[in-house]
Amino acid sequence: MRRATPIFSMNTSSLSIALVSLFAALIAVFGLIPKIDLPLGVPITLQTLGVMLAGCMLGPKRALQALLLFLAAVAMGLPLLSGGRGGVGVFFAPASGYLLGWPVGALVTGWIMHLLPHTTPRQTAIHAFIASAIGGLLVVHVFGVIGLVQIANLTWEQAIMGTLVFAPGDLIKCALCATVVHTVARGLPDWRFGG
């Protein structure tokens, strides 16, 4: 599947512009979609899932660009974060560490996805789960904890305990990401996961 024939005949520059913009748009759409209630009433919002998907689908460089573009649009005052939040002020809030962790998380997810082989849809999905768990969950939460320590003045232990509350929901998002990757791998067999 991956490393097979190139999927696009046109120059990669226009492809990059399109993919980066469209994934930034997808993450924005995930912010507009109302939260999804999972069984047992656990609500999840989808923007972190967008970070994982960008890494898995686009690879490290384009995923990083998509997230930087999205955050630049947020900084410009566009209300693209869930709940209609936006503007420079959100980068000083206690949860801003998570926001700043998104580009790095997408980069790491894409990098791991790029390194792992994708022979079958099932294998691709399993590797997407691993890449999402490391990049979209672990890296983003590390940045989130640093933000909580720096801005909310929590101790490291308190910040880690605080962030662990969200880990089960994010693990579910990793599974969702793997499911989407599995479907895309079957629906678009020529797609190059991980760039």
Partner: protein
């Protein structure tokens, strides 16, 4: 897609976007480099005064202000419960200073002006192969497709509800992603034809 920019004219609207961003960066670096309660109190008081001076324009920021109030309260209560009221106060004062000025910048600056500043800031990356002028094209594409994909999401959700009687939820994520990737191919084709690159 609406912006959080306020059309109600204030004195801050006349200050160039680059200057506002620079002052905000200085303020952020300043308040996070000192734990001195007096300095932070003076900074927060100045920021509240500057913000209040925007008058009617701040009405548009009500949801952001509610978020700020909730975050401040949570920090204060949390540190209060841990018998660390001064640590909590330092956190709240830093948050007030930086977030209020961030909101003030957002209310008083058009996103196109900020875009120009970002493009200027990204100029040094040109030798590395980065094209700052692409930023405005990508922001425009992103905004256009945000609306497009939101409509697409609702259409898929409606179709799923008609078939099953339930909302689509995460079951329509995969079809949405596939349709988006297919759209990306078409857009890339169009861009290639339009810009020959």
């Amino acid at each position: 897609m609406g912006s959080l920019y306020s059309d109600h004219p204030t004195w801050l609207h006349n200050v160039p976007a680059g200057v506002k961003l620079f002052v905000l960066a200085l303020l952020g670096a300043g308040v996070f480099s000192t734990p001195n309660l007096w300095v932070l109190s003076a900074s927060a008081a100045c920021c509240v005064l500057v913000f209040a001076s925007l008058g009617q324009a701040i009405i548009r920021a009500r949801p952001l202000l509610i978020g700020l109030a909730v975050a401040s309260l949570m920090i204060a209560v949390f540190h209060g419960l841990l018998q660390q009221p001064l640590v909590g106060l330092v956190g709240v004062l830093r948050l007030l200073s930086t977030t209020l000025m961030g909101i003030a910048l957002t209310l008083s600056t058009r996103h196109t002006d900020l875009l120009r500043v970002f493009e200027w800031l990204l100029q040094p990356l040109r030798p590395l192969g980065f094209h700052p002028e692409r930023l405005s094209l990508q922001v425009a594409l992103m905004l256009r497709f945000t609306e497009h994909f939101f409509v697409l999401w609702r259409r898929l959700d409606d179709a799923h509800r008609l078939r099953t009687g339930k909302t689509g939820g995460f079951k329509i994520l995969a079809p949405l992603t596939i349709q988006m990737l297919v759209a990306a191919r078409r857009v890339a084709d169009t861009l290639h034809v339009r810009f020959h690159r």
